[in-house]
Every structure is written in C-alpha cells, then in structure tokens.
C-alpha cells in the first residue's frame, strides 16, 4: 500500500495506528480499499448486496483480537456512502477500532456517510472506538455523517467510545442501540466544535430485555461560532436501568441545545437523565493560574481534561 505522510498522520489520529496494525484490518482510502487483512477468526469481505462497504464476521469464542477499519479521504470532492456490517458470534471479547479522517486541501466538499451495523451474539463483549478528524487548509467542507446501529443479544456488552477530535465542519450522527435480556451498553461521546461548525447527535438506547442496562456519557465543548444539538433518548421497555449524562462547555458565541428524553414503557424501568451546559468556571481558571499557568494554558488544560 502506498502510504504518504498525510495518510500516516490521519491514521494515527483516528485509529492510533503506527504502521501496519496487528490482526485483521481494512483501510479504505478515497473510496477504495487500500489494504486488507483477515485472520482465522475475523474475516473481512466485500459486501455482496451491491452496496459499497464490507462485512466483518467474527467467529464464536474469539477472545482478545482487534480489528481496525479506518477510513481516510485525502482528495477534495470525494463523497461516499458506505455500509459496514459486523456479525459477531457468541462468547467473544473483541475490540473494533473505526474512525474517519478527512484531509481537504481543495475547494470542494468531501463527505463520508457511514452506516455501521453490529449484530453482537450472546455473552460477547465488544469495545468499539471511533474517532473523527478533519484537517487540511482548503475551503472545501469536511463532512461526516456516521450512523451506528447495534443489536445486543442476551448478556452481550458494548463499550462504545466516539470522539470528534476537531476540524469536522458538519456532522450528523445517529446512534441506535438495542439491548436484549441482561445486555449492557456504555456509550461515551466526546465532541469538539469550533469555527462555524455544526454537530447534531441523535442517540437512542432501547432497553428491550429484562435487566438490560444503558449508560450514556456525553461531553462536549462548543467554541467560537459553532453549534451543537443533542437528542439522547433512553427507552425502557422492560425492568431495566438507564442513565444519560450530558455535560457541555460553551465558549465564545457558540450555541448548544441538549434535549434528553427518558421514556419508560414498563413500570420496572428506572431511567435517569442529567444535563448541564455552562462556561468554564472562573474559579477553575483562577486556581490553575495560581499554579503558574497562563489563562490560555489553564483553559486548554481544563478542556483537555474534560474531553479526555
């Protein structure tokens, strides 16, 4: 595979990849497959239904393996719609690292729309990480619209960490998780917007089975003129427990709307939501200044910690 410096930088930023990853991987660059590797337990193939994208099949009992599937766009004017389907067997414990990086030096918009659908088998544990990043000094937009749909079977566990690092001009993210009996989903979302960027995050966690658990931790920072809207919804259809916690730091002339909903369709559902939006507390800045940091350094430090 031809990897230049921009590719390397993007891959490191979005998937912590330094060189060729160990285990299975699929690297998508400018709408085609740049490199791929399957393993005994994790098979990656092209989709067969005519849609663009891949299928990832993970055998029952696969433990301790990783799968990297980063997407990078380095040309201006690339627009794509990709469907990736994950079929994860029973009793697995695996880590999937996705992510999208766009480097746009031109004047045309580059856009990645990706739909990731996961079918997670009984008692399997999945850690799913995705990072989004935009770079390059062109006037063309860097647009990402990720959609994640996860079906957790009995006793399955999903830990999802989704981070928008910076430089994404427009994003509309849709996340839907359905938890079966005793299944648990922990979703951490971190989002930074700046300039004139906009971000919309729509999330629905459906606690469908008895003793299902859902937890959403959303932390965001909106700087300058940027705008963010959050719609996290926790739906309890059974005796279950759900918790949504949204915290945002607002700066400059930014705007943030947070519209959480908890919906109980069963009297045994216990659902909690907390949402807070505020600027950085003055006392925090002062405290860090008394430790010798300048005001700017203090602000940076607080934001870094908050989004870490």
């Amino acid at each position: 595979m031809m990897e230049n410096q921009i590719d390397q930088e993007l891959l490191e930023k979005i998937a912590d990849m330094l060189g060729k990853p160990v285990g299975s991987f699929n690297i998508r660059k400018d709408s085609s497959c740049a490199d791929r590797q399957s393993t005994e337990n994790i098979q990656i193939t092209d989709k067969t239904d005519g849609k663009s994208g891949i299928e990832i099949r993970i055998k029952d009992g696969t433990v301790g393996e990783k799968c990297h599937i980063p997407v990078i766009i380095t040309k201006s004017g690339v627009e794509e719609m990709v469907y990736n389907d994950f079929f994860i067997g029973e009793n697995c414990d695996v880590e999937i690292v996705a992510g999208c990086g766009i480097h746009n030096c031109g004047d045309q918009d580059s856009r990645h729309d990706g739909v990731h659908t996961f079918y997670v088998g009984k008692n399997s544990k999945v850690k799913y990480t995705e990072k989004h990043y935009g770079g390059g000094d062109g006037r063309g937009g860097k647009i990402m619209n990720p959609e994640t749909v996860v079906y957790l079977e009995e006793g399955a566990f999903l830990q999802m960490e989704s981070t928008q690092i910076r430089g994404v001009d427009s994003t509309k993210r849709n996340t839907k998780i359905v938890c079966g009996k005793g299944a648990e989903a922990v979703i951490t979302e971190r989002l930074l917007t700046h300039g004139n960027q906009t971000a919309i995050s729509d999330m629905e966690i459906v606690l469908d089975g008895q003793d299902a658990k859902g937890r959403v931790i959303s932390r965001s920072v909106a700087q300058e003129e940027s705008e963010q809207v959050f719609y996290p919804r926790m739906v309890g259809n059974a005796a279950s427990f759900g918790h949504v916690q949204c915290d945002s730091i607002i700066m400059g002339n930014a705007k943030i709307k947070s519209i959480p909903a908890v919906i109980a369709n069963c009297p045994e559902a216990q659902l909690v939501h907390e949402a807070a939006i505020g600027k950085i507390a003055g006392e925090q800045l002062l405290k860090l200044q008394t430790l010798g940091l300048t005001e700017e350094e203090a602000e940076d430090c607080i934001l870094k910690g908050f989004l870490a």
Binding site: R219, A281, Q289, L291, G292, C301, I302, G305
Partner: protein, 246 residues
Amino acid sequence: MLELRSVGYTVHEGDTKLDILKDISLTIDDHKLVVFTGPNGGGKTTLAKIIMGLVNPTSGRIIWNGQDITGLGITERARLGISYGFQQPPRFKGLTVRDLLTLASGDEKMSKDRCCQYLTKVGLCANDYLDREVDVSLSGGEVKRIEIASILARNSQLMIFDEPEAGIDLWSFARLTETFEQIHRTGSATMIIISHQERIISLADEVIVVGDGSIRHRGSAADILPQILADTLGGCPVLTKGGADL
C-alpha cells in the same frame, strides 16, 4: 520577604461603600510561619487573595522580595514563588489528582512516588486517589487535602493555606500539623496559615488577628492565645450589650 504597605480594599454595593480591608501594613520575613486568625468575615481570605493577586487592592502596595508586585497578575506572582491553597477549592471534571499534582509541581514527568509522598503528607493513601478525578465524587475533606497536597507539590517560596484544617479528620489533621512543623523547621518555605485552630496557632512565629478589615492584634502565639480566649469568654458584644432586654 513580603511586605504590605497600607493595603485597603473597598467595594461599592449600590450607594453603600464597604471597607473590607482598611490600611493593612505588615512585613513577613523569610522562613517564618505566620498565622492569620480572627472572626468570620474579618477579611483573612480577602487579604490572602490580595497577596496572590486574586483580588486587586483599591489602595496600598505589595512588595515581594523587594519587587513591587501590586500590578502583576496571578500567573506572574505564582511564577515568582507565591502559592495559595483555596479555602473552598474548585473541582475539575476530567482532571485527576495526579494531573493536578503534576501541574502544581511544574514537572511533567513527576514520578508516581513523588505524587504519593505529597498525598501521604496530608494523610491520603496514594493508591486510592492518584487516578481519581478531582470532581464532585470526592468528599469535602478529600478535596481540601488534595488542595493542600498541590501546594506542597508546588513547593513555592511562600505558601498560603486558607483554613487547611476545615473539614479534615483528626488523624489527617495530626499528619498535616507535622508537615507544617517540618517545613518550618527546615526553613524550606515561608508560610501564612489562616486558621482557627489552637494547635496551628501555637506553631506560629507570629499571630496576626484580623477583624473588621483591620489588624486587631499581633504578637507571639504565647501572647495572643490568652487574649483570644479572653475575647471568646467575653462573648458576643452585641448580645452582651442587649443582654438586659433578653
């Protein structure tokens, strides 16, 4: 050496003028341990904040090691060797105890062992705390002790502690007074401790009683302690005056 020359702080609330500090002058020599004490609302915290640069005085000068620092900001004063442990420390979502101690020390590569030492000095078990966030999940006494540990880690020439005893259990308090004694004995820093505790007052080279925005008394612990106790026994002047009507 720290010198305050006729420091005053006045605020205006509507039409009324509030003199929070009035004409405070004092000098604190290097390596001394000075305790500020006095009634609630007397002006101790305001005075400490004026030294740190968190509050700007409306009159007077502040001289630190011969340099007039009245016009300097917080960061500059911190870099000149002044530190202040807050009476009510702020909390930080996402910053761990270790992050805070590391920032305070100014040494990005501060070892885990060093962090642990500072926590031990305030009676905290490092293993339980290093990776915890300094957020609302910590108790009041825990945050307070972490705040003090951050001042110890900063290791400035002047350390100001604002009621370090507040909310702290007896065991940690004993550990803390030992730490103050040790700093004092080795002469590694000048300390101003705002305190209401007899035990801490008795460690002082000098005790300054601040009340109503002025220095009421100053002297050695041996001289001042009996006076404070006498004042306390005298009770509240307002209540005493109105006593006949009650």
